[in-house]
Amino acid sequence: AEEREPPPLHDAAQTDFTELEDGEDLFVSTVSVIESSSTSPEASNLPAEDMNIGSNGPKHEEMFLDDDDDDQDDLFAEATEEVSLDSPERQPILSDGPSPAITPVTPTVMMNPRVDAAVFDRLMEEDEDDEETLDTFDIQISVSDPEKMGDGMNAFMVYKVSTKTSLSIFNSDEFSVKRRFSDFLGLHSKLASKYLHIGYIVPPAPEKSIVGMTKVKVGKEDLSSVEFVEKRRSALERYLMRTVKHPALLKDPDLLQFLESSELPRAVSTQALSGAGILRMVNKAADAVNKMTIKMNESDAWFEEKQQQFENLDVQLRKLHASVESLVCHRKELSVNTASFAKSAAMLGNSEDHTALSRALSQLAEVEEKIDQLHQEQAYADFYHFSELLGDYVRLLTAVKGVFDQRMKTWAKWQDAQVMLQRKREAEAKLQYANKPDKLQQAKDEIKEWEGKVQQGERDFEQISKSIRREVGRFQKDRVKDFKLVILKYLESLVHTQQQLIKYWEAFLPEAKAIA
């Protein structure tokens, strides 16, 4: 398999703070916010207009390609059916915006350097307990009623997102809202920027498709655009279900707002030439360089092992996906050929003089037509049941790889902080003999600052390591569950098809026997 570098995760917010604005302490601001109000939804409702995320029609999609130069190369090098698995979408679009710490969820508290280890562990356990209760998990989301709005190249599809739940975090039991595709992307972007860097596997949003959407916009009412919209609808539904299944994500106010509020601030397109856009590109380049030089001293073999296993799994899933796609393709071919044969049998029946034979041949044509229908349904089943699941998991694996990368970055940050601390100490030592009292004080202050950062760095690292272990455990369980479900669904559809076939043959037999 090709060596595939996980896309360097972009973390604009954090890098901003550490590289450009050295003075502003990430954690100081956090603490103040917590003290003011821990559950203020205001915090997360930060000016959405500033958020340059999501899509806004074809313009955005073009920009997108420009934006992701690295991935662009990958995209064309692949040139297989699996283009969709490697589109620029793989790169999680992270929100530009304030520190992800400003969320009233448990992770925020963990950012507080004053919380000591014992309290920290207790909080972690609480989180796990929450998970247990959510196992009796009662929320159903459906995405339906795709509706085309606008016209020409500015047209877009709007979907109805309906939620049915008995969970108390929601305002009511059943409600629905209208959302467009870019809203989903915006949601993912916000969630990714908040949680990826602390090691949560945030489910990736469905792929963008320039070809598919263009067909829809242009107004082509043919089978392929209908299929495309259906495929997208289904993917959006699966995306939301996966996201709410994550106990921490479920409590996220952005997610709640997405599901409940009738008006959602529009996610505006990423302009490549915007300030944030350029910054993003610069940071991504820096990240890429950093990644190449980060050589982590792995003290925990578990992480190395898991990374390797996930690499292997990625290869296996891609092979499976390709195999299923080929199956689907042949099924479609079979459907076409069966229909063609049915037609020729019908024509033969029409030209036949012998009445009973003529009737039997016409019946034959009908049977074949019905079988064709079954083939189409089965192709649908193969496709949605397996191909989409496999595709989802390949994309999920990139998110998994992403959190591993984040851990490496966290480690690197910790190491950098230690280096800085050392330097500050050396600088202070020098100043001892220079007799500049005000500078000395400043140096001592800086040492305190960096000691704090080192401690924080270590805590972050331990936190993300713990988090990843838990997330991986959840992922592994979910993957087994998901596949089991799909296999059962597939079997059920197989059984159904066969029973239909039996009915058709049994109906035809007397017709054939009646030929005299």
Binding site: E305, Q309, N312, L313, Q316, L317, K319, L320, S323, V324, S326, L327, H330, R331, E333, L334, N337, T338, S340, F341, K343, S344, A345, M347, L348, S351, E352, D353, H354, A356, L357, A360, L364, G473, Q476, K477, R479, V480, F483, K484, I487, L488, Y490, L491, E492, L494, V495, Q498, Q499, L501, I502, W505, E506, F508, L509, A512, K513, I515, A516
Partner: protein, 366 residues
């Protein structure tokens, strides 16, 4: 020379086929008419061809040209094992394991010849079926009946207007049916080929599932278990495709192929008659034009030609009626066989899938 066939037509079977380099040898068995003994001979395609030529070139058989000759399947192309070439030349008959379809078609040919009121009395048939030495070495005279497709003027002559309403209608219908049945055969061939492709794709999918098996950790073990289960299911799906394809080949496909080739045979017969008609009309015209001294000769020729034509026409009429009733019977048996086989396969498969569903439901809930 007319003889009676010494074996029963219905007992003729092709029981075996062996391949030696590029040559296929067929074992043909039949039951003796007047005793309980059986006969077994070995023949190659050359021998079949010899038989067909002999049938064409029989002398002193009035109206022979009006006979619808049972169609001999085309020769297997050499080298033998090029699948694409076989498919092109033999079409449907190239499918099936070990030349099964091809053998069935040859067997059918022999049975048709042996049950034909006129052809079964040809001595060559009896020699073919009973003599141990292969007759193919003696090259018989090439029949006067050439293949329709070789006649370039065929196109023009084919559309020549008939003097007889019955035949005019017959020719029209036959042209139609010949074309349509040929198309239907090609279409079902496409279906079968796709079914075979699907079987292969299933096999590939199953292999990929096996590649996912590993013991890395608890989750991987659980995942491996379900991959293996799914692989079993996919193998079952594969076998189903293979069975469905084989059913199509052995019954419907074979039947349509036979029908298509028989319509062609009828076409050739009608063409021969039309040619005779044109000959007759030409002779008539010439007779009218001849000078008095040559007129007697011409009138003799005209009378002879008229007699030939009328004999051909009467044989043809009988042949057409015989053909029409037998083809209905033949098609019926193929259609019924097809339906029964597919029904059995569907039932088997439904049962198997249901079992898998139950097993999986139990397995997955633990």
């Amino acid at each position: 020379m007319m003889t009676e066939l010494s074996v029963t037509a219905s007992s003729i079977r092709i029981t075996d086929v062996t391949q030696d380099g590029d040559i296929l040898t067929f074992a043909i068995t039949s039951q003796k008419l007047n005793s309980s003994g059986g006969v077994c001979v070995f023949r190659t395609y050359e021998d079949f061809d010899w038989l067909q030529q002999n049938l064409f070139s029989q002398e002193n058989v009035p109206g022979l040209q009006g006979v619808i000759f049972p169609p001999l399947p085309p020769k297997v192309p050499s080298p033998l094992n090029t699948a694409s070439k076989s498919l092109k030349q033999l079409g449907f008959l190239a499918l099936g394991h070990d030349w099964q379809s091809y053998c069935k078609a040859l067997e059918f040919y022999l049975q048709q010849v042996a049950t034909h009121p006129i052809l079964s009395q040809c001595k060559a048939l009896d020699s073919f079926l009973t003599k141990s030495e292969s007759p193919g070495k003696q090259r018989g005279r090439k029949g006067i009946l050439n293949r329709l497709s070789q006649a370039v003027e065929g196109m023009r002559k084919e559309s020549h207007k008939d003097v007889d309403d019955f035949f005019q209608k017959q020719r029209h219908k036959n042209t139609n049916l010949a074309a349509l049945s040929k198309v239907a055969t090609e279409k079902i061939l496409d279906v079968v080929l796709t079914e075979q492709k699907l079987a292969l794709a299933c096999g590939h999918f199953s292999t990929c599932l096996h590649l996912c098996v590993n013991q890395d950790d608890e989750a991987a073990v659980a995942f491996s278990k379900i991959c293996l289960k799914l692989s079993d299911i996919v193998e079952a799906v594969k076998r189903n495709f293979e069975k469905v394809a084989n059913n199509n080949i052995a019954t419907l496909g074979l039947g349509l192929d036979l029908e298509a080739r028989y319509e062609e045979a009828e076409k050739e017969m009608l063409f021969r008659r039309t040619c005779k008609l044109i000959e007759l009309e030409t002779v008539k015209k010439n007779t009218e034009k001849t000078k008095a001294n040559k007129r007697d000769v011409m009138e003799e020729i005209q009378k002879a030609t008229e007699k030939e034509f009328s004999l051909i026409s009467s044989v043809a009429k009988q042949e057409i009626e015989r053909f029409h009733s037998s083809r209905v019977t033949v098609l019926r048996s193929f259609l019924v066989g097809w339906c029964e086989k597919q029904l059995d396969t569907a039932k088997e498969c439904a049962k198997l899938y249901s079992q898998y569903l139950d097993t999986c439901k139990n397995l997955f809930s633990e």
